[in-house]
């Protein structure tokens, strides 16, 4: 992507402090005045040790945490939406079509078969059932999830298998913006390589990504730059 294409994510002066009302109103400042811009085709990897606020930043960008101050603008349908101020309906719409999120853990809806779970993001975007099924089986095969598992709900799968289901859900459609929270944490080397390929081809097609990777090989393979979150550390 050219350097002139519009920014996909603009984080402006973001601050997050947790206030625990049931613990004597203890406050836990995480970061403040945080600024970050991500262009299409860029994969920004959040760096820093545990507890520095990497996941908090990512969850704030997804609208899952409510920042204390500042804004997060995401390019959606050719215009910016500020996730921190948008109405819930709007955030859901941005998540449905623009903003994908791969967490470390699969949050499963009980008793829904794997194939159905993977097809869901396509069905929600109006793709017909046969086409969705075709693409889901293609991706699950590429991720080497045994075919015998496809009609089973993933609740009883191993950690690595659940993670691949999670990855399949997020890569089955081309989200323009993807947030990756340790998507390869419980995968073996071969499966990590497959996921690295998925990430690289999405980047080549212009997706913008923010990632957290503890695995250095994966990080070096996909990162276009590192972003140390600690430089915005808020004083306690």
């Amino acid at each position: 992507m050219s350097a002139l294409s519009p920014l996909s994510i603009v984080v402006e002066d973001l601050a997050k402090t947790f206030v625990l009302h049931n613990a004597d109103s203890a406050t836990i400042p995480v970061f403040h005045n945080l600024r970050l811009e991500v262009r299409p085709g860029e994969c920004v990897v959040l760096a820093g040790e545990s507890g520095v606020g990497k996941s908090t930043l990512m969850r704030s960008i997804y609208g899952n945490y409510l920042p204390t101050d500042g804004g997060v603008r995401v390019m959606h349908d050719g215009a910016y939406v500020d996730i921190t101020r948008a109405a819930p309906h709007e955030v859901l719409e941005v998540r449905r079509r623009t903003l994908g999120y791969v967490s470390q853990f699969l949050r499963v809806i009980p008793r829904i078969p794997t194939l159905q779970l993977v097809m869901e993001p396509l069905l929600e975007n109006g793709v017909d059932c046969d086409e969705a099924r075709r693409r889901a089986t293609e991706l699950l095969s590429a991720l080497r999830l045994p075919e015998a598992h496809w009609e089973l709900p993933p609740a009883t799968f191993s950690g690595g298998e659940q993670q691949r289901v999670n990855i399949a859900r997020s890569f089955i459609r081309k989200y323009p913006v993807l947030l990756l929270d340790e998507p390869t944490a419980s995968l073996d080397a071969e499966n990590r390589a497959i996921v690295v390929q998925l990430i690289k081809s999405a980047l080549a097609e212009g997706a913008a990504m923010i990632g957290i990777f503890h695995d250095e090989d994966v990080r070096d393979a996909v990162a276009t730059r590192l972003f140390p979150v600690s430089q915005f550390k808020a004083a306690a």
């Binding site: 947790f18 206030v19 049931n22 969850r59 899952n64 945490y65 409510l66 309906h89 008793r111």
Partner: protein, 173 residues
Amino acid sequence: MQREEWGFVHQNPRDGLRMRVSGGANVAEPLMYLGQRHYGKMRQATIDWLERVELDTLRIDDKPRNFSGGMQQRIQVARNLIHGPRLVFMDEPTGGLDVSVQARLLDLLRELVRDLNLAVIIVTHDMAVARLMADRLIVMKGGHVVETGLTDQVLDDPQHPYSQLLVSSVLQI
């Protein structure tokens, strides 16, 4: 408006069903209220709805008391959707049910809500039900709204002391 465009699913099926008439009649009744008089058509619509809520259509003439609690709740759901409402109120719809029955009913409700493009207001004490079913969450205490927002945001980063207390009190399994 109440008859044509709304539905109301009570926590206790006995409050939402007429226990003296058959399950089928309970499902068909809203159509009658709305002026339908063609018995054959109403019976067919009832059979269709019993299938949608996964009940044995051969039991159409059985009285509600002869159905289990989960089945009674599904009769109540069918009764409240048959006339094509746009807004449905649900007061703890899975409150008194065994967890396996509860999971099945929640699946069914999720599917129906998506397929029929319904607006639903659901009252629940169960945070897991809220996370599974709801797009938006309103936390109330003592008759006042203390917090509103996107369901996952309110559950994962609650702001109000009472919401924080609620979320931190959920037992993990």
